[in-house]
């Protein structure tokens, strides 16, 4: 039961995962990835998708940031802030658990 659920706050050690009732699936009709959630369909952009795909409950946010910094050849600090803000927003909408 989650009657005493608390707001999750992003930290470098958080190991985010999609909420159990949230599904990431490819939509062949629109040729795009969709996030399906209660009463909601969201269309993450390429970076959002790269973050969400790593939300497996095992990978820490610091590891996600390292991987994305490699992939996007970007500044670690900038990516750190972006990933943190993204995941906090998704956690606040109860789509990602920290």
């Amino acid at each position: 039961m989650t009657a005493d659920r608390r707001r999750g706050i992003v930290s470098a050690q958080s190991r985010p995962r999609l909420a159990p009732y949230v599904r990431l699936r490819f939509d062949p009709v629109r040729n795009a990835w969709a996030v399906l959630a209660p009463e909601r369909v969201l269309w993450p952009d390429a970076i959002g998708l790269d973050i969400l795909r790593r939300c497996d409950g095992k990978t820490s946010i610091s590891a996600i940031v390292r991987e994305l910094a490699c992939e996007y050849d970007g500044q670690g600090q900038e990516i750190d802030a972006d990933v943190g803000a993204f995941l906090q927003e998704w956690a606040d909408r109860l789509l990602v658990r920290l």
Partner: protein, 372 residues
């Protein structure tokens, strides 16, 4: 329409009009269909296969009470296998136990349980079902235990608007992810009973403040979806997210509708499922194209910068209040008929000393099949 519409994202399947409750604001039409008018299992399965191929990503299984269909598990299973997200919109009566387990095993994603009140007394009085509240609580708890997403639906009117804080506590105590606080939309049965249901302006203001404070306090804990009382609003609601734009409805007998109240517009002719492929009905049906996009709009909508924000509001309400389904929804402050809304509220509301819900049962026309 100059270009083909985008494929629909969502469909509302009104599987049946039968229901154990008799809420006087039901969104079903006044002329409710009996069981013998409902589509058979194979027809619905054909619907669900076609919508998945069209690009529908969410199906809302509703009614009436959808769990009265014994083939519901088959529908959930078919949808789940094609990757469609399934939402069950239920009164929750008789659902807890093996039935909900079977639905969860079939792949159900999300359960929305309606509560007519935040306590057993109100729930019984409004839904006219004495044991309903306990059964709803059991259904909601079981949904949580099975790991399904849970939404508590709170349809709001004069007789339960004071219970908003209790609804919030109820949703938290049940561990729901979402609470839908939806002021009743005055169409169909709710329009018939409007003078006994409409809350007053002070209650609405208090409600908005309560909901906003709770939302701020419960970020990341409970999502509160708030459907405002449009009779008191400045701008209209974007009905269905725009006519024929994202979503459509199939009625129990297979009529394909742009919104669940569209049949109140007598000038429109609706096609029945099976007459031709559903994708063709969605794209070409004159009823869907009648108010699709912005080309049909008259002033003040046509030149309004909000025309593709609220899509002119509700077509059924425009017909009911302005006498023209292509007019601006009179809820809109820019409608030339907006002043009539204030008059309507004044005429509709009882004297201020009688505006609280009270314990008496007002002379509602309770929902039932074959009333007319």
């Amino acid at each position: 329409m100059t270009q083909a519409p985008f494929p629909p994202i969502a469909m509302l399947a009104e599987l049946t009009h039968r229901c154990p409750l008799q809420c006087p604001y039901c969104s079903n039409p006044i002329d409710l269909l009996k069981a013998d008018r409902e589509m058979e299992t194979e027809r619905w399965l054909d619907v669900f296969e076609q919508v998945a191929a069209m690009g529908v990503l969410q199906v809302h299984l509703s009614g009436g009470e959808p769990t009265l269909r014994r083939d519901l598990e088959q529908f959930v299973s078919t949808l789940s296998q094609t990757g469609v997200y399934t939402n069950l919109i239920t009164a929750g009566v008789g659902l807890a136990g093996i039935r909900l387990e079977a639905l969860a095993s079939a792949g159900l994603d999300h359960v929305q349980v309606s509560f007519q009140g935040a306590n057993a007394e109100t729930t019984a009085r409004i839904g006219r079902h004495s044991g309903a509240h306990a059964q709803k609580l059991a259904a909601a708890r079981h949904a949580r235990a099975l790991g399904l997403a849970l939404t508590i639906n709170a349809p709001i009117h004069r007789h339960n608007i004071a219970e908003i804080p209790d609804y919030i506590d109820l949703a938290l105590s049940l561990g729901a992810e979402r609470l839908e606080i939806a002021n009743v939309q005055y169409a169909g049965w709710a329009l018939l009973n409007r003078r006994y249901l409409l809350p007053d302006g002070a209650s609405i203001e208090h409600q908005v403040a309560t909901v906003e404070a709770a939302r701020a306090r419960l970020v990341g804990v409970l999502e509160i979806d708030f459907v405002v009382a449009d009779h008191f609003a400045t701008y209209p609601k974007p009905c269905m997210g725009g006519w024929g734009r994202d979503a459509f409805v199939i009625a129990p007998d297979g009529l394909v509708l742009p919104c669940h109240a569209a049949m109140t517009i007598p000038s429109l002719r609706f096609e029945r499922f099976g007459s031709r492929p559903l994708a063709d009905i969605w794209r070409d049906s004159p009823a869907f194209n009648a108010f699709r996009g912005t080309d049909w709009m008259l002033e003040p909508c046509r030149s309004c910068e909000r025309r593709d924000v609220d899509w002119g509001g509700c077509r059924c309400q425009a017909l009911a209040l302005a006498g023209d389904a292509a007019a601006a929804d009179p809820v809109c402050v820019r409608s030339p008929l907006h002043a009539r809304m204030a008059m309507l509220l004044e005429e509709t509301l009882p004297p201020s000393d009688a505006r609280t819900g009270g314990d008496l049962i007002p002379p509602f026309a309770f929902r039932r099949i074959g009333r007319t």
